[in-house]
């Protein structure tokens, strides 16, 4: 029996059942499933915002209200067609979400939710007090939607409109997440890394918030034409919080979590509203106590919500055969012009970095040329990673000048520097542990693609996507990770994760590669393979600056070595000179007793 239950078949059975539902089900069931569809659309937006973007909004009900009131007002008072009002609603939603995003998204992550609380409350009071919008009484007499001359007046007919919209939203969302811009969105929480890969995190946070608002607006438009009447009640802040509970309970990390959450909350609410007043002997919204408690328990015990648990149970009941996956070959991506071998790529001049009173780097100088490996060594706390952060713009220098390819970069952000052809790895691995190795590496190739999220939602990006993934697979294979392409990064040992970081950096086709302790955690053979790879990259003309503690590795590979101690320059020279330099020996081994 188990073999009959594949996830595709379950999905098809679900869709068939859904399609037949209005033909057979009782009116009550059709109504509740209609509402589930409307709720799930809003929750889907919150999945994007919360689960993917690491942000959240309590004001989604207000966007639903915006969509509903826009069509209610314009169709009844100005006789506009519902299709026209949909566009008007979406335009207003875009403007509001961009404005709110502009104000709050530059600040810490919690200012967006606080801003949306204020927005949710304000809009609710406006709906209730503006006489043109019917005040607390609302607006009735909203016309039904007319599709190619077919009037969708009954809730059974409208069922199809709601669910086709929802399914289209789910499919386009899944498409979008499985693309260049989608990968960037999935990495937004690791902001330092994402920016260092040249990705504008602010833009993607804005986009996610805007999409979530649009889904809510469309849900409101559907609601108004299903109900044919609107009043302020369903657009309150409380409802906005309930939408968030749906997303969190269902599972904010998966698009189907939204559908599951909306379904579970809707049925539970019906049931609780029947039983709780009898149980407590009083009337009121006591189901909110249950939803609140459930949310707390879920966030304590299963942060990804109930949907992943359901999937795990399904996997036990019906084990799925692992699908064989391959990366399709594609044309290589265009490469940037390489500098002439031996020409200067990076020059650091008198760079000082202070943290308050602490001088972490004091008047550091160094140069790196095309086709050479420069090693930066020194005891722990010497300021090597700090200097890396200054060079790559992750944490800019306090004073001094840094030139990359002849251009001054010490005042630029890490994103701008990445665009110029510098790429880096991090001392503490910064990968998305839930994405595959291939997807993580492809983040590095972000700047080499152009297609945007709208194109990817409609799969107009496939040619470019193949080329990006082919590049990522190619770089991973070079780094010896060809057999791990489809493993999640979290399943790899730490040493291999560092290599994924190198492959990710290589995907950007860099002129200069900054590697922060690439050999840490590697076994002997893996270190040798890494040294061979870096030597090969040097042979191709790449400039490499690396921080490393493994002296065998450094001395066997580096062309020149610079030693730092206490944030200052100690010595510089060929590997053999450094090995015999008395100052260096003292720094590493302590003073020699005479």
């Amino acid at each position: 029996m188990a073999a009959l239950l594949t996830s595709n078949r379950v999905l098809i059975a679900f869709l068939l059942g859904l399609a037949m539902l209005p033909l057979f089900a009782a009116q009550f069931t059709v109504t509740i499933v209609n509402y589930i569809g409307l709720y799930a659309l809003v929750a889907l937006g919150l999945v994007l915002l919360t689960g993917i973007g690491g942000l959240t909004s309590f004001g989604q009900a207000a966007f639903v209200g915006l969509g509903a009131y826009a069509t209610a007002y314009l169709t009844t008072r100005h006789g506009m067609s519902p299709w026209g009002t949909l566009i008007v609603g979406m335009v207003i939603t875009t403007a509001v979400s961009l404005a709110l995003g502009f104000i709050t998204l530059r600040l810490s992550g919690h200012f967006l939710p606080l801003g949306t609380i204020a927005w949710g409350i304000s809009l609710y009071f406006i709906f209730g007090n503006v006489q043109a919008l019917g005040g607390h009484g609302g607006i009735d007499g909203i016309p039904p939607v007319d599709l190619f001359g077919l009037e969708l007046g009954s809730s059974r007919a409208f069922f199809y409109v709601i669910w086709i919209t929802l399914l289209a939203a789910i499919i386009t969302t899944q498409n979008m997440l499985d693309s260049r811009e989608g990968r960037a969105m999935r990495c937004l929480r690791a902001m330092t890394m994402t920016e260092a890969m040249g990705i504008n995190t602010l833009r993607y946070r804005m986009v996610l918030f805007m999409i979530a608002a649009q889904f809510a607006c469309v849900s409101g438009w559907l609601y108004a034409h299903l109900q044919r009447f609107v009043n302020p009640t369903p657009f309150s802040l409380g409802q906005g919080i309930e939408y968030l509970f749906m997303a969190v309970l269902g599972g904010a990390s998966a698009v189907w979590g939204a559908v599951f959450g909306a379904t579970a909350v809707s049925f539970l609410k019906e049931w609780l509203q029947d039983w709780l007043p009898k149980l407590l002997g009083a009337t009121g919204n006591f189901e909110m106590v249950v939803f609140g408690l459930l949310t707390i328990v879920v966030l304590h015990r299963a942060r990804d919500g109930l949907w992943p648990i359901l999937l795990r149970v399904f996997a036990i009941v019906a084990p799925q055969r692992q699908q064989m996956r391959e990366v399709e070959p594609a044309l290589p991506l265009p490469r940037r012009d390489a500098p002439a071998p031996g020409s200067e790529v990076l020059r650091v001049i008198e760079v000082t970095k202070r943290f308050g009173g602490l001088v972490a780097n004091n008047k550091m100088n160094l140069t790196v040329r095309a086709g050479e490996v420069m090693a930066l060594i020194g005891p722990n706390g010497a300021g090597k990673s700090t200097l890396f952060n200054c060079i790559s713009g992750v944490n800019p220098a306090t004073e001094g000048e840094i030139r990359f390819m002849g251009k001054r970069i010490d005042q630029l952000g890490s994103r701008e520097i990445a665009k110029l052809g510098m790429s880096r790895s991090f001392q503490h691995v910064r990968l998305n542990q839930d994405m595959t190795v291939l997807e993580n590496a492809a983040i590095g190739a972000h700047l080499r693609g152009r297609k945007n999220f709208v194109q990817s939602a409609w799969r107009l990006d496939r040619e470019e996507e193949r080329r990006l993934l082919w590049e990522a697979a190619h770089q991973l294979q070079r780094c010896g990770l060809g057999e791990h392409l489809f493993d999640t990064c979290g399943s790899l040992p730490l040493g291999k994760q560092r290599i994924v970081e190198i492959a990710r950096a290589l995907c950007s086709d860099p002129t200069l590669l900054l590697l922060d302790e690439p050999a840490a955690g590697l076994r002997h053979l893996e270190k040798r393979a890494l040294a061979e790879l870096l030597a090969k990259l040097r042979g191709e003309g790449m400039a490499i600056l690396l921080v490393e503690h493994d002296m065998d590795f450094v001395m066997g590979l580096a062309d020149r070595v610079l030693v730092m101690e206490f944030g200052e320059y100690l010595a510089e020279g060929l590997p053999q000179e450094i090995q015999t330099n008395p100052k260096v020996l003292e720094a590493y081994l302590g003073g020699v007793d005479e």
Partner: protein
């Protein structure tokens, strides 16, 4: 508007502003120490006011069984933790403090002639059955996820708000309540007639704020809280328990919230869900202080009170809209002047 009305509105605004200032200080404290954006702060205002109304009318504090239930839950959770750590010697104290003490308190309070007690004693009884909810909520809802992101803590906070509002309806009913003022009457100060209760509110708020300042400057617990706010890991390495700091500031914020409710209830009718909007106005004050500065938060809260008061005169239907729109220019200013964005992955 003539001068008399303007003065009246100013008096009203400063009174409410004093309450918002107290709440905004508590919010900044909780956020700085635990990173929790404490949405349920306002519920303590309603719980405090409505419990006082109940006790004043001679009823038992409605939340007493909640305090007992949560106390038993905390005792269980803490006992399990103590057994796991092999610190069984702690068990009797854990059980006594969390479970037995609230039950004893219930037994005592049932013997008292509540209606005939002195006003001050009634206040203390009301507080005794609301304030413990603060640390209990911290222990049960927040401590298990104390290391999680600000976002997750915020969602938990909203969930706690939902639970507390729902329970508030059950405990106190949908009817609003008022309590008698601390002192009846008022006094004519120059051109204005000022109610004694207004003087009480502003005076006590000022005293509480000064008290909090002294607490943070001079007491060892206050210094521990400040240290935790500046650097959690560093404070822990110095032997300051993050759990203790969390419990302490949730206790303080519950006390401030509940007492604010008792202060304001003689001049405004409080309903079970009034607290939310009151708390949010405290938030607007706190946001004006960037969620970090105590003096700016307090000043912002007074500004909120004045704005609310004057807008209720000019456009009463839109007063909430006007108050909440105040955060837009504030956020815009902060947004245009900040360069650094918190990067949670590094914590």
């Amino acid at each position: 508007m003539d001068a008399a009305v303007a003065l009246l509105l100013a008096q009203d605004g400063i009174t409410n502003g004093a309450i918002y200032a107290l709440l905004s200080l508590a919010l900044v404290l909780v956020f700085a120490v635990t990173r929790v954006i404490y949405i349920p702060q306002g519920e303590f205002v309603a719980y405090g006011a409505l419990s006082m109304a109940a006790v004043n009318a001679g009823f038992l504090p409605p939340t007493m069984w909640l305090v007992v239930t949560l106390g038993i839950a905390v005792a269980i959770v803490d006992s399990v933790a103590a057994i796991r750590e092999g610190a069984k010697a702690r068990l009797p104290m854990v059980i006594f403090k969390n479970a037995v003490l609230p039950i004893l308190a219930v037994i005592v309070v049932r013997q008292l002639p509540l209606k005939d007690l002195a006003y001050v004693l009634q206040v203390l009884i009301a507080l005794a059955f609301v304030v413990p909810l603060g640390p209990q909520v911290y222990r049960l809802a927040f401590q298990p996820v104390a290391e999680a992101s600000v976002l997750l803590l915020l969602i938990v906070a909203v969930a706690v708000h939902f639970v507390m509002v729902g329970m508030g309806l059950y405990f106190f009913g949908a009817e609003g309540a008022r309590i008698p003022p601390f002192t009846d009457g008022g006094v004519t100060l120059g051109p204005a007639y000022v109610q004694y209760q207004t003087i009480w509110i502003v005076g006590i708020a000022a005293l509480l704020i000064a008290g909090l300042a002294l607490f943070f400057e001079h007491s060892i617990y206050g210094k521990a809280l400040r240290a935790t706010a500046i650097n959690r890991t560093g404070a822990r390495l110095m032997g300051i328990s993050a759990d203790l700091a969390g419990k302490l500031c949730f206790t303080l914020s519950a006390l401030v919230g509940a007492f604010s409710g008792i202060l304001i209830a003689p001049i405004t009718t409080i309903y079970y869900d009034t607290g939310f909007l009151v708390g949010l106005k405290g938030f607007v004050g706190a946001i004006i202080g960037g969620l970090v500065s105590y003096p700016l938060a307090a000043a912002g809260a007074v500004l909120v009170g004045l704005l609310e008061s004057y807008s209720s005169f000019y456009a009463s239907a839109y007063k909430e809209v006007i108050v909440f729109t105040l955060i837009i220019p504030v956020l815009l200013y902060q947004s245009l002047t900040t360069k650094h964005i918190d990067d949670e992955e590094d914590h």
